[in-house]
């Protein structure tokens, strides 16, 4: 019975790869996903929890490609642990120098030709963090975890686990883990038609016993000033609330502020989070002209949904299916 389930899962993985809109790399498309047969193997949940621990506790360097809509962006992440605290250094390998360093409650951004700055944050912002820090036990209300089988990624033996959304309001994921270290090696975001919307693929993984001396050194460097995103307590910005939330989503931010680039436009802002995905909802009176009253822009897994009614413009942004954005937007009501 179990055996059969794996087989089905594997088949769907293969067909998924074949139907993918992405340029799947040939090795991946051709490599056979071997079927798990031994019953004594750890469960998907155990693997996922191992990943969680490895991602936080190991010293490693990842070179990876981020692919969305035919665009590939190579990036690097170096992670290490200093006195029990994570240091993560991230940067873009192509184009202008863009790099960031996260350590000790702060993330600092450096970019060629512009002033460096820091933001206060206690959440890991690195590439696989949203998945790797998920509370998988509680998460089984939203996702089902299934081992798809073995594969080879970045020269490492890997195991593929599918996180299948239990409802239509969120995407599914397939995550590949290194069988030795349990570090994530690949992550695909998948919609209901089994298309890969976005893919992150490690091409080189380097694990070391001790922290990379260079990031250790960065961790003691002074960081640029922390900027605080200012709120505007403007009386004329009306307050709003949501009548409906997608299952397992919670409101984690609810404020009024000005858009950073257009500091003349106050917006009401609500952020939703289900432990993996963060959704921003903007409600404003500012309108830019649209032909249609609803508008959808997508890039990889990210959706920007705009809806205009009379004097109100609602924008919903996040890695969610359109239906979720539509339902959120439709549920917005003025607060009394």
């Amino acid at each position: 019975m179990k055996h059969r389930l794996f087989l089905v899962a594997c088949m769907s993985l293969l067909s998924l790869l074949a139907s993918s809109q992405l340029i799947a790399s040939p090795e991946v498309a051709q490599s056979e996903v071997k079927i798990e047969t031994k019953s004594a193997l750890p469960s998907a949940l155990t693997y996922l929890n191992n990943m969680k621990q490895a991602y936080r506790e190991l010293n490693y360097k990842l070179l990876y490609l981020n692919t969305a809509q035919n665009q590939i962006e190579p990036k690097q992440l170096i992670h290490g642990v200093v006195d029990g605290k994570s240091v993560a250094y991230f940067y873009f390998l192509n184009g202008a120098m863009r790099e960031s360093l996260q350590f000790d409650g702060k993330i600092s951004f450096y970019q060629q030709g512009s002033q460096a700055y820091s933001l206060a944050t206690n959440r890991d912002q690195s590439v696989f963090a949203n998945i790797a820090n998920f509370n998988f036990e509680n998460g089984n209300k939203s996702y089902e975890y299934i081992i798809l089988g073995r594969d080879r990624i970045a020269g490492k033996k890997a195991i593929a686990i599918r996180m299948i959304s239990k409802d239509q309001y969120r995407y599914s994921y397939i995550v590949w883990l290194d069988l030795e270290s349990y570090l994530p090696l690949r992550l695909d975001i998948i919609n209901q038609s089994n298309q890969i919307l976005e893919q992150t693929m490690v091409v080189s993984l380097n694990i070391s016993e001790t922290i990379n001396p260079w990031i250790q050194q960065l961790s003691v460097q002074a960081t640029p000033d922390v900027l605080h995103l200012p709120l505007t307590a403007i009386a004329e910005v009306p307050k709003w609330h949501l009548d409906w939330l997608p299952p397992s989503f919670k409101i984690v931010k609810d404020d009024q502020h000005k858009l950073m680039m257009h500091d003349t436009d106050p917006v009401s802002y609500i952020m939703l989070n289900d432990g993996i995905v963060r959704v921003s909802v903007y409600i404003s009176t500012k309108q830019t002209k649209l032909i249609e009253q609803k508008n959808v822009i997508r890039r990889g897994g990210t959706l920007i949904y705009t809806k205009q009614d009379e004097n109100v413009e609602i924008n919903v942004i996040g890695e969610i299916p359109l239906i979720t954005a539509e339902k959120i937007a439709a549920s917005i009501k003025p607060s009394k």
């Binding site: 120098m97 060629q112 030709g113 050194q217 460097q221 002074a222």
Partner: protein
């Protein structure tokens, strides 16, 4: 003023493949690098080797120099790192009074004498200093003040021209004449 910044002019040439331009960077900074190293490298006989290692590292990683911090700050950091590596390889601990990279520009290098300081070299360097101070002392006032404002206060020609109330061209020539006079006495001292 940016296009006159010598470091940047040289770095640009090196980045364009003109390796020879690196010689001027070495000439410009070798004393300062050696001076930083004296805080870490106790055996003065090792300073030329470690200095050389610093400059080779600088050359190799120059493609990554981004120009958003001063070249000297960057060089300073590489120098300190190289010195620490040297200490590790000599299995000695880095000095507790570590210097922060940000202090690079203000750091004064009045380091303690080394374990095995070469007395002859020390005498020589004292002699060089006395000769330079003597020549400056004998210079006409306007040359003396121009070279001092430039070398000790780090002022630009423009700033000196405003203080001295004279054209920039005059500042240019006064500083040069002061250097020329000093160099006349200095040159024989440095030739073996």
């Amino acid at each position: 003023m940016n296009e006159r910044e010598l470091d940047l002019q040289l770095i640009q040439r090196i980045q364009n493949g003109e390796q020879q331009a690196f010689a001027l960077l070495v000439r410009k900074y070798q004393t300062r690098v050696a001076n930083i190293l004296t805080r870490y490298v106790r055996s003065s006989g090792d300073i030329p080797d470690v200095s050389q290692e610093v400059f080779i590292k600088v050359y190799k990683s120059l493609p990554n120099f981004r120009g958003d911090s001063a070249f000297y700050t960057w060089l300073f950091r590489i120098t300190v790192n190289t010195a620490k590596n040297y200490l590790t390889s000599q299995s000695r601990r880095p000095p507790a009074s570590d210097i922060d990279a940000e202090e690079a520009d203000s750091y004064d290098g009045s380091g303690a004498l080394k374990d095995d300081a070469n007395p002859e070299a020390i005498l020589h360097s004292q002699e060089v200093k006395q000769v330079i101070l003597k020549v400056i002392g004998d210079l006409p006032d306007e040359l003396k003040s121009a070279i001092t404002l430039r070398e000790l206060e780090g002022m630009s020609y423009d700033e000196i021209a405003q203080i001295e109330n004279c054209p920039i061209g005059t500042v240019r020539s006064r500083i040069f004449r002061a250097r020329e006079a000093i160099d006349k006495q200095l040159k024989p001292l440095l030739e073996n």
